[in-house]
Amino acid sequence: MSLDMNANSYVTEDGRTIGPVVMDLKNITLRFGGVVAIKDISFNIREGEIRAIIGPNGAGKSSMLNVISGFYKPQEGEVWFRGAKRPPMRPYQVAQQGLARTFQNIALFDGMTVLDNIMTGRLNHMKTNLLQQAMWWGKAEKEELANREVCEKVIDFLEIQHIRKTPVGRLPYGLKKRVELARALAAEPSLLLLDEPMAGMNVEEKEDMSRFILDMNDEFGTTIALIEHDMGVVMDLSDRVVVMDYGKKIGDGTPDEVRNNQDVIDAYLGVSHD
């Protein structure tokens, strides 16, 4: 595949248009005390693409995602989002910019129903205050109806109608993951971060999840950055892959390029350090 990665936009083999860079990470270094979690990493994410971050355990993938979502503040380097340098922000401010994420360890409200959980994803789209919502009159009512409609579309999309009113705590793991994805999707993000969306799933659940990720990208044009361990899934789904090892970037490119990269092979199969 000889795609001009530097052009503003290009069309993939399967007919999707990949736009210009939306998120650009420049020379990020993240340290916890003396431990260097991420060491001088740069890469970018383009509009409309599925970008995977892979690497062995402890490579710094989740830290990278946390830097993007604003949870960690890197000691060095810059985060550029939509052509502007992002000042240090709190996660909720990042969310307001149109980023949404799911978590490696499911972080849902166990006592609330699936629908209520998904509604929390709409928080950034609500303008009425607590008092108005408590009265549920006039503007607040209209707003809730509009937001509920978005949630229902997401429920329909992810095929979780049958558990709409079920408390999340009662659901099996695979469905919880799907609900978390639904909540992130309900925020209508322009960039969606998925932290190991398929961890601990069986083959069938993985297939479903892969289909949802592809359809999401296809239907809503959502840009997706994901961390995943399952190589087969990553290679099939993503447009470009970043490979990390010991906090360093050891590869970046299309799945084919990455697959043939000697450093990547070494990192995954192991080499003797002498």
């Binding site: 399967d14 229902e152 429920i155 109608q161 049958h162 009113k165 289909r211 239907e219």
Partner: protein
């Protein structure tokens, strides 16, 4: 409502009925579908517009008269509209089973030569595209759900709404053509083609005319007083004739509302939200629901548990049939003041007694708890409220039923989604008596019918008030039935199918020139009430030595209704008496053994336990009594039986993989036992080879006890003497 409308014949097709419905009740809901968590509804007028746009769109695509339009998808209004739209332009809808795999679909699509296919979603489109590699007559594929289909080649693939939009735009150009084709439809033109499920050989396309559909819909609607205010839930496969009749035929004839569930997973909650007044389900569905109820009752509180059993026992003892059934006639008139008062009074009495029953039983339970502690469930039985003693006789029973209605039946029906049900049907296979009794005693008017695709469903139905679990009712209105000498059932009716598509030989085999159709089932009419009973497939019915009818399956089914009995094999063809092998159900009997401290090490040991044999003997004798009630089958009473020392197993070739007994194999393998039956021995030694799951062979041996069972009446006296 049906009677007020002009006679059948004035409306010669489904589109004509649609026009009438728009005129008569255009603003009433015709279709509902739950989508995005809300029940979306369409009135008759709106539905007619959707159908018209689709029909015009199909014309724009170049549909011809007589084309077959395949429809594949779950029950959605859009798919029903697709069928009517096809009829409107002179084409014939062919609904397919949506869960069929591509190869199965290929046969049907090839056989009907469809040029147009309407699909529900990507899954179905993918299958059709796969099929298109082999068969090339499919020209246009229309899909309803856009999801995932954006990137497909759209040269022959169209979005449902785009077609409708095209139709809207092309309105002026095609309206005359559509009106012309619609006017050409007659009572005898093809209405629909449905493929039989093909349990015997290839599926066959059953062609049904407008006459078949409309007459059947009319007769059956009138039979059950179905009116325009019914609600049904359309959830059965669209390719099945029953769904076509219920959701299209009857809905069009009476103008009632068809509700489509959100997805297959939400069926049960959708059922509850809609609360259908008219409902159909195969016995399996009722059975699963009953099991769920029973399991959940085991987990419920002690008071609930006791009240549930107390009132269910009462209702099952006959009160349900007497006081629970919904009113037969539905009047559209408003109730008078007096009627309202009476209804209010009854309800108030029910609520009053219910409150009393709750309080009294709660107190008694409290006391019982002090005495028995955790074991209270075993010892505590609920009692009627004391206030009921003020009344006597039937009034007492009546109020007790009302009280139970408030406490148990009503809430239970509501939970199951049967709160408003007026008529419910089950068919397809025999339904267990307890299951049937359970639903009927709660006040659900569950009935049975017997039918097939070739008859446009209805052959016999049970009228209200004459419902039994072991018959399938009287001939449906307009149906004539005759029985051949071997008991095979033949029928002739307005619903009798036109032909099998492109298959004159099969048509001639099934339907004779006078219009009599062979069902392949054997049965007989009950002398007392004129109800038909189905006993077996006609080819399996034999004769006893004295010429009496021998119907093993009939007796075996009766035996298998007992939870203790897993399998039964009855012998007696060309013999002077019937005998039976029994397999006990290890789960059920094992459960009994556990509760009664009976130790056992193996199936064989438990099967030989004297108490178990005696219990089975009781069952056999009860079955004999019920078999003896029918004079024709009285010869099938079981004189001698034994409990086999091993379970019949597919690995040993005794059963098919679908768990049907291979009678021949069993007969040969256990020949010494059968000889022992007919030589009067009381026990017999047998050695049997068994195949283990890993393929190794072994053998087990046992000396089996042969018991004589009491028989009734004119049976052979051998059994009586042994008693």
């Amino acid at each position: 409502m049906g009677q007020d409308l002009a006679k059948a014949g004035a409306f010669a097709s489904i589109p004509a009925l649609l026009d009438r419905n728009v005129k008569e009740f255009g603003n009433r809901p015709a279709y509902r579908e739950k989508e995005f968590g809300i029940w979306q509804s369409w009135t008759w007028a709106q539905a007619a517009e959707e159908i018209q746009n689709l029909a015009l769109g199909l014309l724009a695509l170049g549909i011809e008269r007589g084309d077959h339009v395949a429809i594949i998808g779950r029950n959605r209004p859009a798919h029903y509209w697709g069928m009517v739209a096809a009829q409107k332009v002179g084409a014939v809808p062919v609904p397919l089973y949506q869960d069929a795999v591509a190869e199965e679909m290929e046969y049907v699509l090839e056989n009907c030569g469809a040029r147009f296919v309407i699909c529900g979603d990507q899954e179905q489109v993918d299958k059709v595209i796969e099929v298109q590699e082999k068969i090339h007559h499919i020209e246009h594929v229309i899909y309803f759900d856009k999801r995932g289909l954006r990137k497909y080649d759209h040269s022959h693939l169209h979005w449902y709404h785009d077609i409708q939009e095209e139709g809207r735009v092309a309105h002026a150009r095609f309206e005359d053509e559509m009106a012309k084709r619609e006017a050409e439809l007659t009572y005898d033109s093809k209405c629909v083609m449905l493929y039989t499920s093909g349990t015997t050989g290839r599926p066959k396309g059953v062609v049904l005319s407008n006459r078949n559909i409309i007459e059947s819909a009319k007769n059956s609607s009138e039979f059950d007083n179905l009116g325009g205010n019914e609600d049904i839930l359309a959830y059965l496969p669209m390719a099945w004739v029953g769904d076509f009749i219920f959701s299209l035929g009857q809905a069009m004839w009476t103008g009632f509302c068809v509700n489509c569930p959100e997805s297959a997973d939400t069926l049960m909650s959708d059922l509850r939200e809609i609360g259908p007044t008219y409902y159909f389900a195969p016995p399996r569905v009722f059975e699963t629901q009953l099991t769920n109820v029973m399991i959940r009752m085991e987990d419920s509180g002690d008071l609930k548990y006791a009240l549930f059993h107390h009132f269910m026992d009462f209702a099952k003892a006959g009160a349900g049939e007497k006081y629970g059934m919904p009113k037969r006639k539905v009047t559209t008139q408003k109730r008078t003041f007096e009627q309202k008062m009476r209804h209010g009074f009854r309800y108030a009495m029910g609520v009053g007694f219910a409150a009393e029953a709750l309080v009294e039983n709660a107190i008694r339970l409290g006391v019982a708890k002090l005495r028995y502690g955790k074991d209270v469930r075993k010892h505590f039985k609920a009692k009627d409220p004391m206030g009921l003693k003020l009344y006597n006789g039937s009034l007492q029973e009546y109020f007790k039923y009302r009280c139970g209605d408030v406490l148990v039946y009503g809430p239970l029906k509501d939970t199951l989604g049967f709160g408003r049900i007026r008529v419910g049907y089950t068919a397809g296979e025999a339904i267990g008596p307890e299951i049937f009794e359970f639903y009927r005693s709660m006040g659900i008017n569950l009935k049975q019918l017997y039918g097939q695709t070739e008859a446009t469903v209805f052959i016999t139905v049970q009228p209200d008030g004459e419902v039994r679990n072991d018959t399938v009712g009287v001939p449906a209105p307009g149906v004539e039935i005759k029985l051949a000498d071997n008991g095979e059932i033949f029928y002739r009716s307005p619903g009798t199918f036109v032909e099998y598509y492109n298959n004159p030989e099969s048509t001639a085999d099934t339907k004779d020139p006078e219009g009599w159709v062979a069902t392949g089932d054997a049965g007989f009419f009950d002398k007392k009430n004129g109800h038909l009973r189905i006993i077996d497939r006609a080819k399996d019915v034999g004769k006893m030595a004295d010429g009496k009818m021998f119907a093993p399956k009939y007796v075996e089914n009766k035996l298998k209704f007992y939870p203790d009995i897993l399998e039964a094999v009855v012998f007696g063809n060309d013999r002077d008496m019937c005998t039976a092998f029994i397999n006990i159900d290890l789960t059920a009997v094992g459960n009994w053994a556990e509760r009664n401290n009976v130790a056992y090490a193996s199936y064989q040991e438990l099967a030989g336990h004297p108490d178990v044999v005696s219990t089975i003997q009781e069952h056999v004798e009860t079955v004999n009594k019920s078999v003896a009630e029918d004079e024709m089958l009285s010869g099938c009473q079981i004189h001698r039986f034994l409990i086999l020392h091993k379970e019949l197993d597919a690995d040993d070739g005794e059963m098919t993989r679908t768990r049907k007994v291979r009678r021949k194999v069993v007969e040969e393998k256990y020949a010494p036992l059968i000889d022992a039956f007919y030589s009067g021995k009381s026990e017999q030694y047998i050695e049997t080879e068994v195949t283990y799951e890993d393929g190794r062979k072994g053998s087990i041996n046992a000396t089996l006890e042969i018991r004589d069972a009491a028989v009734v009446g004119n049976g052979n006296t051998q059994g009586m003497a042994a008693e």
